[in-house]
């Protein structure tokens, strides 16, 4: 289960809208499945169909998280024209089985947001608790 504050959901949605039509991506930092801080990250691919975090920015954020005692609770990204469900690319490039994968879809008028675990190529949706 992923627990996240409404204002953090707003940050993620705003990021997705800001980047549209490119995909937005970021890190959800916290402890025990509870998000404490959202990091908006650059999408190095600058693409509407893929995302890749900048390696140096990723390293710097992970270092800061370690110093603050925060774990990688989740990874978020947006789908600009498809549903909020992991694509084949998402599954192939999911290297963090311990993290939640939060996907925002902007394909409809109302954004859709769902959370998943991706482990050994298998996708499982998980409950989201809005705090």
């Amino acid at each position: 289960m992923l627990s996240i504050k409404r204002e953090d959901i707003e940050i993620v949605l705003e990021h997705a809208r800001d980047e549209n039509p490119r995909e937005a991506c970021g890190i959800l930092a916290g402890n025990d499945g509870v998000v404490e801080k959202v990091y908006r990250m650059k999408n190095k691919d600058l693409s509407s169909v893929t995302y890749l975090m900048d390696s140096m920015e990723q390293f710097a954020v992970m270092k800061e998280m370690k110093e603050k005692g925060l774990d990688l609770v989740g990874i978020y990204h947006s789908h600009t024209s498809s549903v909020a469900y992991p694509s084949a690319t998402d599954i192939e490039r999911a290297f963090y089985p311990e993290a939640s994968y939060l996907i925002v879809s902007l394909s409809n008028k109302e954004p859709q947001i769902r959370s998943f675990r991706i482990k050994d190529g298998k996708v499982e949706e998980e409950e989201m608790r809005i705090l």
Binding site: D45, Y51, L52, S55, T89, R93, P97
Partner: protein, 95 residues
């Protein structure tokens, strides 16, 4: 003294659950060969035909080796190498 190598969670099942292992100094690709000898299977998860995989980031101290000398980057005694998977994905219908 050796080189400290940080192993990411998904690869720790190959290092008997160890988050950090020691390796010998040399180039990055030699260091991966050294790890492969002790932890069979780890080499192909990190590299393919002598090249680091696209979605694996390797840092020497705090620098991405892509900005240094890639696989030929020299690692010295006392250095710290971090292997960290990239964070990537996307809606692939058109890729």
């Amino acid at each position: 003294m050796g080189v400290k190598v940080r192993i990411p969670t998904p690869l720790q099942r190959l290092t008997e659950g160890k988050e950090e292992v020691e390796a010998s100094p040399g180039t990055i690709i030699e260091l991966i060969g050294d790890l492969e000898k002790r932890f069979p299977g780890i080499g192909e998860r990190i590299s393919e035909s002598g090249k680091i995989r696209r979605f694996v980031n390797i840092y020497l101290n705090e620098q991405d080796i892509r900005f240094l000398n890639n696989e030929e980057t020299l690692v010295k005694d006392g250095d710290e190498v971090s292997i960290i998977p990239a964070i990537a994905g996307g809606d692939n219908r058109n890729v």
